[in-house]
């Protein structure tokens, strides 16, 4: 009798472990924070073109959607998503803010001159510390913001499917 209970317990134990690992198989191996930050961080930063200091309060203060896009001239996927951002910037319901990540100003300006400027403001982040305040991993990364809250974040380059999703939000 005791032996039987013992075997029964062992079988249950292995089934339990099997279920846990089997469920884990379907999980994505790419880590994305589920809870992330909800409110946009406070920061001050210089702008690329006018070279003046701006506070986050003065940037995200209108009653419209904002898209914060972290980019760099050395980042190849940023080049690919740039045309999509330009297309998106034609909409009047959304304002695109750029955060230039660990870049050289000359290269960044050349990049904008070559591919066009979808950004209403380009903020500078020379050392990558402001991107950390946003909880970002690297470039490219995009945050959709409404009323000072982050409603959606996209890690990696945007594609036409994701842009359609953004367009759906700002309808």
């Amino acid at each position: 009798m005791r032996n039987r209970i013992f075997y029964f317990l062992i079988v249950i134990f292995f089934i339990f472990i099997f279920v846990i690992f089997y469920k884990g198989l379907n999980n994505s191996s790419l880590y994305t924070p589920s809870k992330g930050i909800k409110n946009i961080p406070k920061f001050t930063s210089k702008t690329l073109i006018k070279k003046k200091s701006l506070n986050s309060k003065d940037i995200f203060n209108k009653n419209k959607f904002y898209l914060l896009n972290i980019w760099a001239s050395w980042c190849v996927p940023c080049r690919d998503e740039h045309s999509l951002l330009i297309d998106l910037s034609k909409s009047k319901r959304i304002e695109i803010i750029g955060l230039n990540y660990k870049d050289n100003s000359n290269n960044a300006e050349r990049f904008i001159n070559e591919l066009g400027n979808p950004y209403s403001i380009i903020l500078l982040d020379r050392k990558g510390t402001k991107a950390i305040e946003w909880g970002a991993f690297g470039v490219p990364e995009t945050f959709l913001i409404y009323e000072n809250k982050i409603i959606k974040r996209y890690i990696g380059p945007l594609n036409s499917k994701l842009v359609d999703e953004i367009k759906n939000y700002i309808k």
Partner: protein, 121 residues
Amino acid sequence: MKFLNFFLFILIVFSFNLLKADEIKIQNKITKNLRCLICQGQSVYDSDSEFAISLKLVVKNKINEGFTEDQIYKFLTKKYGEWILYDPLFNKNTYFLWILPLLIFLFGGVIILKKLINIKK
């Protein structure tokens, strides 16, 4: 005299180094406990990715601003979730994680004790 001046100069330089060393020690301790989220199986301390370089700088700035170790961990978990810490914090989600080894240890002790008592009988 010249020698004495030189000696004093060296002494001052070395004492500054000691002050700085403390700061670096705590910075290393913190960055060793932070997971580099875009690398695989590396701490921020070990990694040289852009993300890790920036994060090291942020930790250094926070130390200079007078943040304690716990405050820095709190700041970073707010941004990146608890996954960034190698050493998980003790809270309601991790009670089980922290207490389980202790329970298993006690359970094992009880089994051994029982066996010993049986042998003695």
